[in-house]
Symmetry: C2
Subunit: 494 residues, 2 copies
């Protein structure tokens, strides 16, 4: 299956393979069909494309040489971390080099006094917390894939996780990046001090999906492990009431470490899979974790318990011990694979909405689901309004994948309509290019292209991802033009 | 006095005044010498320059019309908020329009459920907290000038304050901006939801010092007022020990709401001015404020007290009540004017360093002070390593201003040398252009110019500020070239 929304005319240059073999050891240049197969998609398997060649550099110098080569030959480059991304940001190009950072897997330095660590981009997210645990520290952002996903990919997609409600997204938890430019030059953005003067290129790089440079080193912030974590599990007989409870908790000035919601289909799937002792008849459950100082957690647990009951919870359980707390999370953490057991395929969406819209939006998603005939399970970061509707379908039934994508698109457009955005933490990649046309007007998209061109005038870094062309938006027909049009200097097309 | 480090050839176009009078009411276009005088500098009075004309628009449409006019005539534009900035970011250009946002002073909307407020850029920082106080909310960043400074200026300079140790800089406390482009088009960056897809233009705009667009609306995040605030005042007989205590507190996993340090000259000046009952013989004091949940604050106060004593504090006072807590702060808050009383002039620097360098850097500043013959008082945000050395001088003594600037430059370069940066919260403006050459290499500066050009190809928005030209750096002779050079497409010069 090849479903590439790429508007570029293909221009394969096989000489790049020969030249790469001069730069890298034989085992680090993959070009046979069998070797390329594992790289044909990332975590978004609906889109597949084999690259022209995969390069596996081991040193910064090799990355610089590869970029100089590709720049000279005008060959596009797609960077790849662990390949767990869910929006197709690392989808290869048929005429491009796939630059894997898998061999950049060293923790370079841990600085407990400055609460920071310097790591290579291929280091797994969880490996950072493991490496610094003996200092009482951890790295806060925790995507569901944290066992497997790489920190470089986290930066490229500005990843979140359960804990980002309290501790922020990746952009709030990194200090400095080392990158290789499209022309092969090494540069740094950010600083280990409070603020970096001049333009905030660190934030600009974070979430830029490989379009501005190749990340070769990441300095992350570390946090002290909280003294105590405690969790509550609340049952509701309507998703609206559960949504309202979320707004009540946040509105009371409490910032939980995590505040997650699952609806009935998700509860049932998780319970059948891992037996977490979930209330299978509840319309929705909320799992609320509080962490911090012991005395603070004790009082906040009481306050949250009261808020949940006042908001109409039919039952509220407080974990008696850490084993029970982990059991509360067991079902939530297994929810995606659990849904995978009850449906041949599922499509995980990722949109954000203002918290107060949770109830109405979940109801509208149920209506859209009924209209399309495809079931939807909801498992998501309710605290920050980050929805993850899982659309259940069977790719073997002709037309169902397309129907699932259509329903997904409609859900994202609903998010924008209520004042939200088309992504929370998974990035745009290739998946949400059309919805970017709904989110932004052509002036705003043009501005993003202009910024991209400031780093990559020839459009060689991950072309076709994250920011749609105006042409594509015009074809999609959902061009959002609430303001006028900005006229920037003539820009290259990506 | 005219001390403009501007490399642009002047090109005054008086017709812009006539045309502005067609767009705005007579009282909103200022062009006589007497009318222009109040605008000849911002908070950095060492640099002064009258603009060609001052425009005081009242509506977004008027801002758009002014920008269209200036774009057509190719007249440079400098935006100005309250004019309290300390790095000369709002210094006018002799041939430019000074665009004052003073009349944009309305709070448009307060949304307690979403904990956000939408305000015009001319609204004063403190006015936001006052307007939302009845909801139990406040806006966290608190520059010393918060009674007077405007939120638009805060965004332009990415301002900090005492509370930014715990609650972050301006960039961490805003959600969305509305801007007018150099061509007069209205556009938005950011979102009221968790994350905004595509490139992070919100962070890019924050701290960009008026070089990328004119801010016409700011949506800020609001925080719940903490249940309790408590403060400690610790005396030390050496600045090094005080610096080490700061590192101990932060290293213990405590994040105070504020952690401020004053050295002996600053203590004496403040005490003489406001009688805060400071220990006038101490080499340094630390003021540590803890806020949050009542029980948490109680225990943290005990922990901090013990850490301070263990670190060698000769005395630690805990505020008995809120009146005493406010007295602790009274001297700190009055420290700048207090220093103004003991010296005809002073020059406030703003650099950041890694916390563990506090002691050594303060010692080296004392040496540099002795070498130059100018006294230095230190009053600063110790918790995040943000120094504010106040260099005392007398502008009436020939050569002393130059000597003060030289000492200031040497201190900033010292900050960079120990791994810090040349600004913490005051921005670069015109003041630190030379030090930017020390902080960044030419490839990095070239990249900033390329990003600037993506928004403002003709270089009409606040030219000559924040990012030095490579030519200037070459002349300054401190060009920092630890990496190679990036070659971007031919760029306009600013």
């Amino acid at each position: 299956m090849s479903r590439i929304p790429d508007e570029r005319p293909l221009n394969p240059k096989p000489e790049v393979i020969t030249e790469l073999r001069r730069l890298l050891p034989a085992a680090s240049v993959l070009a046979t069909e069998a070797e390329l197969a594992p790289y044909e998609c990332d975590g978004l398997s609906a889109f597949q494309q084999r690259p022209l060649v995969v390069a596996l550099p081991e040193t910064v110098e090799q990355v610089q040489q590869i970029m100089r080569l590709c720049h000279r030959l005008e060959v596009p480059v797609v960077a790849r971390g662990a390949g767990t991304g869910l929006s197709g940001g690392a989808l290869p190009l048929a005429d491009g080099v796939l630059l894997s950072l898998a061999k950049f897997n060293r923790i370079i330095d841990i600085d407990p006094a400055n609460r920071s660590a310097k790591v290579q981009p291929g280091v797994r997210n969880l490996a950072i917390s493991e490496a610094v645990a003996s200092h009482g520290l951890y790295y806060a952002p925790d995507p569901s894939s944290q066992i497997a996903c790489s920190i470089g990919g986290n930066v490229a997609e500005n990843s979140g996780g359960v804990h980002c409600l309290k501790y922020g997204l990746t952009v709030h938890n990194i200090l400095k990046l080392k990158l290789v430019s499209v022309e092969g030059e090494l540069f740094e953005v950010g600083s280990e001090a409070l603020d970096s003067p001049g333009l905030d290129l660190l934030a600009l790089m974070t979430g830029s999906e490989g379009m501005l440079g190749i990340i070769v080193e990441v300095t992350v912030k570390l946090l002290p492990k909280p003294e105590r974590a405690q969790a509550l599990l609340a049952s509701f007989d309507s998703v609206e009431r559960a949504g309202a409870a979320v707004a009540e908790i946040i509105g009371a000035g409490i910032i939980p470490a995590g505040l997650e919601m699952m609806d009935n289909p998700a509860i049932r799937a998780a319970e059948a899979f891992v037996h977490a002792d979930y209330p299978v008849d509840a319309a929705a459950i909320l799992i609320c974790e509080l962490d911090g100082f012991n005395a603070e957690v004790s009082v906040d647990v009481m306050r949250v318990r009261k808020l949940l009951l006042d908001a109409g919870a039919t039952d509220v359980r407080t974990a008696a011990d850490d084993a029970e707390r982990l059991r509360f999370w067991k079902g939530r953490k297994a929810a995606f694979p659990a849904v995978g057991r009850i449906s041949p395929d599922y499509y995980c969406m990722d949109g954000t909405i203002p918290r107060r819209q949770l109830g109405p939006v979940l109801n509208r998603i149920a209506e859209l689901s009924a209209e399309s005939g495809l079931a939807v399970a909801n498992v998501f970061h309710a605290g920050d309004g980050n929805l993850h509707p899982l659309i259940l379908y069977d790719a073997n039934n002709p037309g169902e994948l397309e129907k699932a994508e259509e329903l997904g698109g409609a859900i994202l457009e609903l998010c924008v309509a209520v004042g939200g955005t088309v992504t929370g933490e998974h990035g745009v990649g290739v998946e949400k290019l059309n919805q970017m046309c709904v989110q932004f007007n052509s002036a705003e998209l043009t501005q993003m292209h202009a910024v991209k061109a400031a780093f990559d005038p020839k459009g060689l870094l991950n072309p076709g991802k994250a920011v749609p062309t105006l042409h594509r938006c015009a074809e999609f027909g959902a061009m959002h033009v609430h303001h006028g049009e900005l006229k920037f200097p003539e820009l290259p097309r990506f």
